[in-house]
Symmetry: C2
Subunit: 148 residues, 2 copies
DNA sequence: CTCATTATTGATACTTGATATCAATTAGGC
DNA sequence: GCCTAATTGATATCAAGTATCAATAATGAG
């Protein structure tokens, strides 16, 4: 879509669910509120542990609804359960700290330009892409000065 | 397919295992031969089904060894088991057909340049990256002319 | 070649992440 | 308040993958 402008989107998760035609219930509100209050990316199991008053099935279902609504991003983690993070920006990519697992978002116009130039090389039609940058975040960098 | 210099690497999987100090056994040869003969990307379970004479544990272990040796790439698939494909090129990325699941490899100098330019924007040190392009491959494009 | 040592195998049990089932409960309109 | 459909959650189940460990195979020494 746009190249330089980062379009911020819906952040209210309960509204995102209602926009899907889903009812506002205690369980869904609890899940949405919890996700909004933890600023970090999280796994489904973490959320279940944090919300023992909500059933596992409901936690998983609500997460799925939020992903379907585009309000959450599902990030593949090669050796473990996928992580979820709130989608704050229309189209973006993620940074993942290899040490602490912190997830960040970024957006870069070159990525879109790259797609266009790849179109010639690839024997098919590009329908999407995914990109993750693995980093050591500043926090981990500074705490590993003498240690480890 | 690739642009710039594509450095081809070790393709002999049994040798890759021996280079890791592992013994050449019937089971490992069977796994290696099978992987080399199916040109497509595959899942661990597929391989188990294709090789009923080799135990599941051994299939999984051998795959892990090959990934450790850098001879196989492990690709995250968001809603399913990871897929594996032979690493034919030093550093590359993958195309995945959303319809048929076919996996291809490509290499593009812009990707490396992109990483360097991202280094300024990202609050941390880049240690790696991953990128997958989702496509509809030519085969699927041509077979979906009238259909669906 | 034979033995001893060590790596390897694979049946089985288990773990983990996630989904299906379905009776009981809840939300929202009338 | 009542009705109906949506929702919940305990439970069972599934699927991918790993741990266990006795039996087996590969290698080196003699």
């Amino acid at each position: 879509m746009a190249s330089g402008i980062a379009i911020t989107v819906e952040v209210d998760l309960i509204t995102a669910l209602e926009d899907q035609g889903l009812r506002r219930t205690y369980a869904r509100s609890a899940v949405a509120t919890r996700i909004e209050s933890v600023s970090e990316a999280f796994t489904a199991e973490q959320l279940c542990r944090d919300l023992p008053e909500v059933g596992r099935a409901t936690v998983y279902r609500t997460i799925r609804h939020l992903v379907d609504a585009g309000a959450l991003c599902k990030l593949p983690i090669l050796d473990g359960a996928p992580m979820y993070s709130i989608a704050r920006v229309e189209h973006h990519h993620h940074t993942i700290c290899s040490k602490c697992g912190a997830v960040g978002e970024f957006r870069h116009s070159t990525v879109e330009r790259l797609m266009r130039s790849l179109e010639k090389e690839i024997d098919g039609e590009i329908v999407g892409h995914r990109m993750e940058i693995f980093i050591t975040c500043n926090q981990c960098l500074s705490s590993t000065n003498g240690g480890e």
